[in-house]
Assembly symmetry: C2
């Protein structure tokens, strides 16, 4: 029996809470899974079979144990009957792909929702400028609906460090002020970096001098759109001429584990 | 001194938690404000002056009291120093305006984020099909960033009741399946109803036979986009040829209190 403790950002492992997330994890990153906890009340033979069969296919053995205590410690949700413990992993961004750059995102739930949209719009490369919400926080994992396991991401101490590592690409800072270019009038090329600021403050003013600053037009009745929403509208717009063919991103072929 | 109790959906009043929300409320719906609680730790003269001067302008007297107990009962957030208690209000949707129709939205935070986008895209008329999250839940109010106070909304028991009340308008059900029309290829006219389903289930299949069913293309790596995000992309798309002039929606002129 293993010791179970509440998640801490300095831990080397994190948790996927719930059957859907755990199954996503087993499909996308089986080699990161350490252990699966099942609740004694889990009575879906289908879920148990799926988990057992995916766990069998992993290259390293995955412990599956029924352990209700794990749920009392790790989950606040009543309808959580599966928890997967996994090793945090590296999956650096692809230098030739379009990038999303998040400058100091502060909310784990928002970060997860952003990841879900990024993977959904086939733009699964996110650069994160620190300080930032923890990408492996179980709240991030949950809000991503498991799409975190199909993401590539790199952290940088400063925006300048990101720019030095990825030169010569069109940069589109999304600004809150009203003198940037209207997103509807911007033709975004195939390789780009869309840059978004913090939830409360947006991007600092200096970003108005970088690349092509853009804004999403909205009425004066609100101060700004919610960050994951502004970002997702940016992604929708940047991919408007794309064909979303199925199975675009096979994580096993693309990412070194 | 008034009795203070935790919010319940059957109450005739609700709460705006925080200075920003309370000020938004005082600006948009002063006549609904019953009472303002200030925390003894609130030390911003600017906030206090703004609140006092807005309260003075209301037609009925608004009590302002320093009362730390109210914060212990009503707020979980540490940085909440102002709470406004307000009467729930009616603000029926405008039959000639474009509508957003939410079929069984279940999450108060999502509902608030949706309202923020609706008001932001100058589409402040939302029809809600019950059962639904409570539009006056303090969580909804908070996630709306106060834009709830600039919204028009009506509740219906069934989608059919909404349709009977609002005939002859182009209907666009947003579907999760992949045989609906791609949103990018749809030209949405000036008056319309965009219809969105529940967070977990989307719209029932029957909606594929109503109006012009649309979908937002995304990769197969996710099951669906987050509901407020899909909806906001729909609003962005439906308003792509609009001019967002300032002060579009003067709530005092538009809505009978």
């Amino acid at each position: 029996m293993s010791t179970i403790k509440r998640y801490d950002k300095d831990d080397s492992t994190s948790y996927a809470l719930g059957a859907t997330l755990s199954i996503e994890l087993l499909k996308a990153r089986p080699d990161c899974v350490r252990r699966i906890y099942l609740h004694s009340k889990l009575n879906s033979a289908e879920i148990i079979n799926t988990i057992e069969s995916l766990a069998d296919q992993a290259s390293a053995a995955i412990d599956i144990e029924t352990n209700d205590k794990a749920f009392r410690i790790l989950s606040q949700k009543e309808n959580c009957f599966v928890i997967a413990e996994f090793d945090k992993f590296d999956a650096p961004i692809d230098g030739s792909a379009p990038h999303i750059v998040l400058v100091n995102p502060s909310n784990a739930g928002n970060l997860g929702t952003i990841i879900r949209s990024a993977v959904g719009f086939d733009l699964p490369d996110i650069a994160i400028i620190k300080p930032a919400a923890d990408i492996f926080d179980p709240k991030t994992v949950r809000a991503s609906m498991g799409s975190l396991f199909r993401l590539r991401f790199s952290h940088y101490d400063q925006f300048e460090d990101y720019i030095s590592a990825h030169k010569d690409r069109p940069i589109y800072p999304f600004m809150l002020n009203r003198d940037s270019k209207d997103l509807r009038e911007v033709d975004i090329p195939n390789t780009f970096s869309l840059v978004f600021g913090n939830e409360a403050t947006g991007l600092p003013k200096e970003f108005a001098c970088i690349g092509t600053p853009v804004q999403i037009h909205h009425s004066d009745a609100i101060d700004s759109l919610n960050l994951p929403i502004a970002l997702s509208i940016g992604l929708y717009s940047a991919t408007r001429s794309r064909d979303f063919s199925p199975h675009f991103f096979d994580v096993a072929n693309e990412v070194q584990l």
